[in-house]
């Protein structure tokens, strides 16, 4: 019996020895090692013809010119267009990864399209007694339809105005604010005083700002050491929310008035305030940029003679005659009577400054208002809407981008589709127009033709880098060029002072209260926060500490200790307006008693400028 066992053992031994002289074991070792090169999970990049395509970035109103490197037609990387007169070849971090927006996880691709269309049509009919089919309907003054446009000045905006014009009692609303009708000219400015505006952090056209940066002295008045503050020539560390006080202080100083109490309010010395005032007047043209819409600051521009020089009236590209007739006027949201809107259509597809929901809600009728949001992200107004309609994102859309705040000359450029939009998304403006019986499918083409007809300015085509007078381009070529990546720039217009700021002040600010010890300071420009961002942005926040990152709030170690929050811990941010979840980041560079929080819609909703708040660790 042991013999058989022994023989089996011998057999196995022999087999093992023999195997060594076959390719099998060696090949298996090699293959497993090779398998580790492309085991499941390691993707294979697509191959194909490499080409360059051109467009304009529509993530934010800057509309930088973009060269896309495409493989088999699919963009794989984006870069600026060197020598572009407006964007100066620059592209921000968000723009560089723009081609990945269509693949953001959590992106909306379906919604109750028909129902929403019905709702709009019904609302329009209710407002419009003489619309066919609804003779009995009556229009209540308090039952108005309104479109809230986060990025005015687009062709889409005109479509909305026409659509609302076609509806009796239809409203076209914008955020308003001092800059709604104005643009600034950094090239002219020698001194720039920013009261919390993120001048060097995504404000205006990044490429242009950086190119002009060398020519002006930048004074940043801000409570925290923001990116701009740390890079400014001078940083005035003021108390949070005291920007208006500083503004009126400077205004006073310019009139040689005493500034003692203002110094008190801002935490600066009188000397400092007087010095700033002096600087604004002494070194040639000055420019004052209000951060969160503070009118006092805006007024200083007039005092220092900036109007018509560094601050000019914004001019728009020519518009077809027909559009201007009977279109709804531009109304700032703030000037609408509270509780007067029944049906509100919010176009969030083109990001702009996010308005706190509280400011909007007040304008709606109290009992079940109908809110319809056009957006690609569930994070914004979608949270407050009855209907959410998915829209295409850059670079799927064909849309034009209004002139940026820092380009005094009118410009017309379009973001052209580089990839196909998923089925089920809608074009917001055309959708609204259609719902009220207006065809706006060719609006962009009409606009382009109107511009071409005016025959002013030049057309810059990116592929060949040429710049031709508009008059020399045939209408069809003009349109074709715009669709292949081009930009029309108006001739230098007569510089006019901007229209008086038709706007009454910021929306509801959370009131101070003893049980809310901290002051919330929003960083990261709201535009960047509400604009969709590529998943790669983790490189900037979580994988390095360059940005704070959404839903993260930074505290000084001592402050953190005092409210029992630990680094990386989850916590609840509470203000008088509400609560939201945040992740705590402990950072010694944040002043004590301040909560530096990244602006995302849910945070903006509850924190106005300088909101009091507290942090409750979870």
């Amino acid at each position: 019996m042991p013999d058989t066992r022994r023989n089996v053992l011998k057999f196995i031994g022999g087999a093992a020895a023999g195997a060594m002289f076959t390719p099998a074991p060696w090949r298996l070792i090699t293959d497993t090692a090779l398998w580790s090169e492309n085991w499941p999970g390691v993707p294979r990049p697509l191959r194909g013809e490499i080409s360059a395509r051109y467009t304009n970035c529509s993530i934010c109103p800057a509309g930088c010119a973009v060269r896309a490197r495409c493989v088999g037609g699919q963009p794989v990387s984006l870069a600026g267009v060197a020598g572009h007169p407006l964007s100066r070849g620059g592209l921000c971090a968000f723009g560089v990864a723009g081609h990945q927006l269509p693949y953001c996880p959590g992106r909306l691709t379906e919604g109750l399209v028909e129902a929403a269309a019905g709702a709009i049509a019904r609302a329009a009919a209710n407002c419009n007694p003489d619309a066919a089919g609804t003779p009995a309907a009556v229009c209540y003054p308090a039952e108005r339809v309104a479109v809230l446009d986060l990025r005015p000045g687009r062709t889409a905006s005109w479509t909305y105005r026409r659509a609302m014009g076609a509806v009796k009692g239809g409203l076209y609303l914008t955020a308003g604010g001092p800059f709604s009708g104005a643009a600034v000219d950094l090239a002219k400015a020698r001194t720039v005083l920013s009261l919390g505006a993120p001048v060097l952090d995504g404000w205006g056209t990044p490429g242009n700002v950086l190119a002009e940066r060398a020519h002006f002295r930048l004074i940043q008045a801000e409570a925290i050491e923001s990116r701009t503050a740390s890079l400014a020539d001078q940083w005035l560390r003021i108390r949070p929310g005291s920007a208006p006080a500083l503004a009126s202080g400077i205004a006073g100083a310019l009139k040689k008035a005493p500034v003692a109490d203002m110094a008190e309010a801002t935490g600066l010395t009188e000397q400092q305030i007087n010095d700033v005032a002096a600087e604004l007047t002494q070194h040639g043209p000055a420019l004052v940029l209000p951060g969160d819409d503070c009118l006092e600051a805006w007024a200083i521009n007039e005092q220092v003679g900036g109007f018509g020089v560094t601050v000019v009236a914004r001019t728009e590209p020519p518009v077809p005659e027909a559009w201007t007739k009977g279109c709804a006027p531009v109304t700032p949201l703030a000037s609408v009577a509270d509780g007067s809107i029944r049906t509100l259509i919010i176009d969030e597809s083109a990001s702009g400054d996010y308005i706190p929901w509280g400011g909007i809600r007040r304008k709606l009728v109290a009992d079940n208002p109908v809110v319809i949001a056009f957006t690609s992200s569930p994070a914004g107004y979608a949270r407050h809407s009855l209907f959410v309609l998915p829209t295409a994102v850059y670079p799927e859309t064909l849309e034009d981008i209004p002139g940026a705040i820092d380009s005094p000359r009118a410009a017309f450029r379009m973001a052209v589709p580089l990839v196909a939009a998923p089925a089920g998304v809608v074009n917001s403006s055309e959708f609204v127009a259609k719902a009220v019986g207006l065809d706006a499918a060719t609006a962009l083409r009409e606009r382009a033709d109107a511009i071409r007809k005016a025959a002013r300015g030049v057309l810059i085509t990116y592929a060949d880098g040429r710049s031709r007078p508009t008059a020399q381009v045939a209408p069809d070529d003009f349109w074709k060029a715009l669709n292949e990546g081009a930009c029309w720039i108006d001739t230098e217009a007569q510089r006019a002072a901007p229209p008086a700021a038709d706007w009454t002040g910021p929306g509801a600010r959370p009131a101070a209260s003893p049980r809310l010890p901290l002051v919330a300071v929003l960083t990261e420009s709201a535009t960047a926060a509400t604009a969709p961002a590529s998943p790669l942005m983790t490189k900037l926040d979580r994988e390095s500490n360059l940005r704070l990152g959404l839903r993260r709030a930074a505290l000084h170690p001592e402050t953190a200790r005092s409210c029992g929050a630990r680094d990386g811990g989850r916590a609840e941010l509470e203000t008088s307006l509400g609560k939201c979840r945040i992740e705590v980041v402990v950072d010694a560079s944040v002043p004590r008693g301040i909560l530096q929080v990244a602006a995302s819609p849910d945070v903006i909703d509850i924190c106005g400028a300088g909101a009091r708040c507290r942090v409750l660790p979870l």
Binding site: I29, T32, A33, W35, S36
Partner: protein, 414 residues
């Protein structure tokens, strides 16, 4: 029931007792294998290592364990090359311990690398400049040597001896034992050294970087010496432990004492060189690379104390072991041996963990690192496996030849 396997003339506890003893270790092994499996399947994100703390608990333990395992080669060297006959009493035990230590270290390395399937590349495309290549080659070779040295111990088993061919084989093998001892010693000198070199060559880490002697940094030689010094101490420690656990006299006290003496002498030599090296490093090497020695110890908890602790852990045992009166007392001997082992652990800890914790860039920060339970578990697996292997060897093979004549007190534990 397993009497026929237990060496003749040696009494061992009952099977039940033995299994009872094994159970906890087996459980520990199971847990360890689970956590190791997690690291292999889910990847090294299961550990608390990161891009800055690229090496963690595992590398530290590998270095320590291999230093302790040095007893195997050094005892062999003393016995077969320097003919210190009385060490025959512990050589088998030394071999088993060496096998455990080296086997364990290799196993952990297998988990530590991100792509174990490619581990053989090191043999196929070796980079001769790299200390790690040297380590890999020497350790894997020496592991084979240890296995070969282990075979005779296994073949001496009562049952296996009945197979004549095995007996012959064992006899032939035994003739070669001197060769293996020689080869083993040579290899061990090398890999102990290159383990030291591993960090000594890191020009980018001035805290670890050392002057070169010939083609090797000084840590190369310091590691050889410290390993050789601590190896015997570890043998003393383990033998004593086994005696306590099995409640038996396994070796003559004289043997342990002479081991202790050797350990002490080597510690003295090591300490001397270590002092010189430290002074050179602080006053010459560090300033040259633009760093201030003060910076090394500016960060709590790694203050200057750790440097002195390191030295103290070698100094005290040295004194005790070189002092015949103290050495003669088991208590002193054992505690000295224990301290020496701690000393080498601290030394390896400083070189691995503290090196990585210290910032090199002026704007960088000091890092803290605590191993995850998966990391700890994997290490526990090695420990448990070691104990199990040793227990079996002790029960079924002749690990301590002198045990028989030292008389058979009634057996208790394994």
């Amino acid at each position: 029931m397993d009497k026929r396997f237990i060496p003749a003339g040696i009494s061992r506890c009952s099977v039940g007792k033995f299994l009872l003893w094994l159970a906890p270790w087996a459980a520990m092994l199971a847990f360890g294998l689970y956590s190791a499996g997690l690291c292999l399947v889910k990847g090294l994100n299961q550990t608390h290592m990161n891009n800055r703390f690229a090496f963690g608990l595992w590398i530290f333990l590998d270095l320590t364990v291999i230093a302790l395992g040095a007893g195997a080669f050094f005892t062999g060297f003393l016995l077969y090359i320097l003919k210190l006959k009385e060490l025959r009493a512990v050589i088998n035990s030394a071999v088993v311990i060496g096998l455990m230590c080296y086997g364990g270290a290799m196993a952990v390395l297998g988990v530590d690398v991100g792509q174990p399937l490619r581990a053989w590349f090191t043999f196929w495309y070796p980079n001769v400049h790299s200390m790690l290549t040297e380590v890999t080659f020497c350790i894997s070779c020496y592991l084979t040597v240890l296995l070969i040295e282990y075979v005779p111990i296994v073949l001496k088993n009562r049952k296996l001896r009945q197979i004549p061919s095995f007996l012959v084989f064992e006899h032939e093998l035994h003739k070669l034992v001197y060769v293996f001892a020689g080869v083993g010693t040579f290899l061990s000198f090398f890999h102990q050294g290159s383990l030291g070199g591993l960090y000594g060559v890191l020009r980018g880490r001035p805290f670890a970087f050392r002057e070169e002697l010939g083609i090797w940094p000084t840590t190369f030689f310091l590691f050889i010496l410290s390993a050789a010094a601590v190896g015997p101490s570890f043998i003393v420690l383990t033998t004593w432990l086994v005696e306590k656990i099995s409640r038996k006299r396994l070796v003559k006290p004289a043997v342990l004492q002479s081991l202790g003496r050797i350990s002490g002498m080597l510690l003295a030599a090591y300490l001397l060189l270590k002092l010189v090296d430290t002074l050179v490093w602080l006053n010459r090497t560090t300033p040259r690379s633009g760093f201030l020695p003060a910076q090394y110890y500016a960060w709590e908890p790694f203050g200057l104390w750790i440097l002195f602790a390191e030295l103290a852990f070698f100094l005290l045992p040295m004194v005790i072991l070189l002092w015949p009166k103290l050495r003669a007392r088991t208590g002193w001997l054992i505690s000295a041996a224990g301290m020496a082992c701690c000393g080498v652990a601290v030394n390896r800890f400083v070189l691995t963990i503290q090196t990585l914790a210290l910032p090199t860039l002026s704007f960088d920060r000091f890092l803290q690192y605590l191993p995850s339970w998966q990391e700890t578990g994997t290490f526990l697996a090695v420990l448990a496996a070691g104990v199990l292997v040793y227990s079996f060897s002790f029960r079924y093979f002749v690990v301590f030849p002198e045990e028989r004549e030292l008389g058979a007190a009634p057996s208790a534990a394994p």
